[in-house]
Amino acid sequence: MRKLPLLGLAMFLMVSQLLFAQTKTISGKVTDRRDGSPLPGVSVQVKGTSTGAVTGTDGTFSFTAPASASTLVVSSLGFDSQEIAVSGSLLSISLVNEESRNLEEIVVVGYGTKIKKDLTGNIATVKGSEIQGTPVSNFNQALQGRAAGVFVEANNGKVGEGVKILIRGSSSISGSNAPLYVIDGVPINTSTYSGNAIADINFNDVESFDILKDASAASIYGSRAANGVVLITTKKGKAGKTVVQLNSQYGTNRPTNLRGFLNASEYVELIREAAINSDLADGYDPLDPANYPDSYLEYVELTMDDISGHTSWRDGLTNTNWEKKAFNYDAKTYAVDVSASGGTEKTKFYLSSSLNRQDGILIGNNFRRISARFNLDHAVSEQFKVGFNLSVAQTTANRVSADNAFSTPMQIVALSPITPFANEDGVPYNSPVTTYPNPYVDYTDGKYESITYRNIGNVFGQYNFTPSIFFRTEFGIDVQNQNDDQFYGFNTDAGSGTNGYGESDWFRSLDYNVNNYFTFKKMFGQKHDFDATAGMSYQRYNSEYAEIYGQQFPVEDLKKLASSALITGGTSVESNSSFLSYFARANYKFDNKYLLALSGRIDGSSRFGKDNQYGFFPAVSAGWIMSEESFMRNSSILSFLKIRGSWGLTGNAEGFGDFGSLGLWNAGSYNGTSGLTPTQLANSKLQWEKSDQVDIGIDFGFLRNRISGQIDFYNRKTKDLIYNVPVPSNSGFTTQLTNVGSMQNKGFEFVLNTENVILGGFRWSSNINASFNRNKLLKLDGSQTIIPGNDGRYLNSLIVGESIGVFYGPKYAGVDPANGDALYYQADGKTTTASYNAAGNFVVGNPNPKVIAGFGNTFSFKGIELNVLFQGVFGNQVMNGAGGFMSASFDYFDNQTREILDRWQNPGDITNEPQVRFLGGNGISASSRYIFDADYVRLKNITLAYNIPAALVRKFRISSAKVYVTAVNLITFTDYPGWDPEVNTDYRGATNGNRNQGADFYAAPQIRNISFGLNLGF
């Protein structure tokens, strides 16, 4: 630790000053400007020296300083630093909380910054300090519920994997719906070979997330901005005393919920009942010994003999709870972060290193990230500044298969409870004793390790020609190197029969970016405030991967492909694209009241044909700060009021593939000879998707901003949506990528921040955000109004006039009381039928939430702080695509969910659960039978922290110490009958990922984490 010598030096200096200089005592008290409460742990230093002190719990400080000391620097995490002139010996200092919704706050916008008060667009800001230390792997999960209009959904409870983020709804059918992420000016790559590229980022290094939501805020990023932009600014050093922070935490991960399946006796009773029902339906009674041979009952009982292993299903002694075997009940999380920041007026730095380890809740699933960051700013001269921001991370993940693979841990629930977990020697049973390949064998005998090295950084130079004009150049890179190493042993699903299966995949991507721009800023006269920015940007993406697969390993200990006797395949694939852009923006403010902003960007991309290579993306916005008007200025109630409006055009070029407009043939092969095969139908007219967005908003503050908030209405229409339009397959092609449709997202966002109680040392503040979004498909290709998506398991469809991905298909009408048949409504909506083919199609559900909301509360008293964040999603449905297996009226040997106990048994029974029929397919095709409301409210995050009084820790040379306990997903309130209502199975994303929402398919429940932590400052 460099810290100790530094401290020693500081103490030496202080002592020498005491001895040789004339001194004086400076003391005082630091309070919070909002409520006058004392602030502990604040650093007070004589400017330009390391002489100073830290305030105690009562906010007071006292130290001896040279008589010449004239200015103090007062700083504390989460507050704006201040310089105070020393006058008298007892100082009263009040600090402004950065998080106090202060209107003077600096907000990061594209290619610059702005004061929040002067914004004419809609930008949601989340401070890094709000999510610091949240025990999740991906910052998007930490942002869940914290920003209006930002919908976050983790696919499932696999750690470090897919998380969907939608800003103001879906705007694309087939393109990407993900926002553009820009870290310190560098647009980063969000695509990766496997896993999640966002999980490589250590968000404890982040100072702020500024989420550009409306078109005027985002359109400076032109063709990249239709889904919003997340600007991430990392922490920078401040001149003054070097601050060292250490955070360490330790916790446990558990599933949020287990859903429960039949036990052994229920299983035996019901599957026999199902077999007998099927035999009776074929006209014979299997209980009659003459009919028993070749009956369903015989087949089921003989199979049960097989799957009982060394035990017998007849005695009922074996009762395996397979669901529990999917989880790791020893899952832990562990994190350590160390950072140091400081510097001089000329050179400032921020350094950090961190280790974050999370065991997944699923067997065989874990995640570890080791990262380091070094940010440096240096002033070469008064005019010229240079610097860099650099991060290096290694992410190691042990993955499990996608949700639709037999080998994924959650599919273990399909196994029969009459099958013992292990044989008499303690070896876990596998197929054919287990009805399906046992995923536990993949866990013990397989591995899928993915290691990524990620390097994101940029170098910049800024030259101030005059105080009002500067030029800035930035060169950024984002490099990913990933290696996925897989091996499956001789008994696993993938490796059986081939003496093992091994795969080695190497992926590399390089994304580099150049930004050059001029900024001009000047006040003309007293009232005309003008600034302008103009420049260019060039970005180039390259990615390559190579894969090799092999079989036939001599022993399971030899897992590398060097030991494979049969290399079964290999490939290498390259992809390239580039963007060239020119942008400009001008802001004008008159008399601090009237705001006007114009911006435009021209984008060119290699992804489009020559004729449609460039697009133009303009925006205009205006604001009126009414509270600055003389007629309102003296209001004692209303302290701030701004009305603003914006219009702009943004584009989307992501998710099209790099060569979507060309008619292409790829290599194919037969009998070891290579050939050519058609892969893609041409579309020479392919172009950008374009979003046209209007936003009208009000920002308000009452009672000296103790109550403040924001209301926004927006209407975003996206046209030229690309879609793989079905074409007659007699052409040899099934789809063609075409700009066909348009879609609308209309919504309303509401943000309210309140200081509820400020009483003595007790403080309670709240923030509420609620967002209502209505997504509507306005047009497909003009001729089709419905593209039904019923694929037998799911019903996500595209229907004009409805939201993207609504469930469209047969409507389940319950059970025929006469015979136990599952019934559906015919097209008239009234008559019922037992024939699935004769059923009518209806919109039977919507996976898009109507409302998303967050409700945060902060309570503080003396050194104790309690943060409580509730997050909710309302008005959406989820379809269980595995219903046809796990809730399938015993169609097969899969263990069944517990609703089946209410099955129809006798004529006259009124129930929603059809008669059980083995291989009878009674109501098991995709229908509203498997669609459920998925509203939920979740105690997303709760943190209780205690700041140990500085006086107690000072003797350990510690300036501040905090202990805390934090929990993620502690309690969930929902009626969803599955594992977890926050779900979208991971295997359906590759094609139609935007349409394929709201799907459950053996998806792991979310992770519930409880962690203890310690935070020390030096």
Binding site: L302, Y463, Y538, N576, Y670, G675, P678, Y836
Partner: protein
Amino acid sequence: MKKIFIIILSTGFLMSSCSKKLEILPTQSIDESIVFTSDANIKAALVGAYDGVSAASLFGGDLQLYSELQAADGEIRWAGTFNQPREIYLKDILTNNSYVTATYNRAYYTINICNNILAAIDIVDEDDRDRVKGEALFIRGTVYFELVKLYAKPYSGGNMSTPGLQLITTPTLGNISESNFVPRSSLADTYALILADLTQSKSLLPGQNDVYATTYAASAILSRVYLQMADYPKARDEANTIIESDEFALNSTYAAAFNNTSNSPEDIFAIQVTAQDGSNDMFVFWSTLPNGARDGDVDVLNKHISLYDTADARLGLFFPDGVNIFRSGKWRLQYRNLSIVRLAEMYLTRAECNFRLGTAVGATPDEDINETIRDRAALGPVAITLASILFERKLELAHEGQAIHDVKRLKGNVDGFAFDAKELVFPIPIREINAVGDILEQNEGYN
């Protein structure tokens, strides 16, 4: 200030050289306009056509699987978890059945490659032109034949004006055209195209062509077409041509005809499967986990096993997997070829036709059945009747994909369904009806 000039100069440089920076071409694909410009490229596309027809959803196993599942009749059982084959097994197929859809799509995908080759055939070197054309016609005719047997009413139903297939004979280039929005041609017209393609390919193809289509492969498929049409003289003559050619010979044992990594002397046409290339869904669904397949999705039941004489060498190929469950040994091993037509079938066809016609072209039915087929199966002679010939055919070709097509042409029934029942005809995939529009007629029972 020097640094600033460098920055500004480099900015200017970047801006000026930029337009070239957007010119990026694919590295794993080529534009369609380049494909049909050279002899070598068209021959590569021909390999692509074999790649197409060898896919799992066509001759890579699913065509054979469908036929056997439809003709199950209590002799086999779909015990697997996949719904789509089960619907076929139960004769209760949904119009969105993804297997039914994939087979339809893959068939036309392959036909489009053939159409492209045929349209550009003049670019092929003259020496090879007949062969390339013959192979493209062979694949197109064969694929249409497989489709019409599954997706239309059987020829034996006698109604020649019933809908057959959408007949596409021109390539798709640049974009979809009006020719793709066509109704189904009649069954008569569909069979006419199949006969024309196969007859022409028979005359163009050589007698030997590595593992690719030969004139005998075309004859063998033609003999099947004629059998469907109950044109016994022609079916007999095509079969006889192949037998008399001496290009093929029965393997000394029955088992040697299966699980081969290269064509056996008996294979007239076979799909090549290697570890790197090709699919074999018959293996995937019929074999077992220890062999690297799924866990035995098709059970062979006692009703089938009990048909064999205990001395029958063909019985020995079944291997037990559970008390009452056997697996077909024909599909036991991974990465093995799929035999599409083998010589034994030609003997059986010749015998049946000779018997029906009272002729002895090539050999007598007694010689073909007793001395050739039964002899290899280590069985003694039986009395020759039509029934005994057909029974021999059933056992010899069991689980190779001919079952339902024989049931249909012989006007039999399975699982209580008559040969021309609407349940034994696949639906036209709903996605195709949606894409083409109402002019595309759905099969009876699926509306």
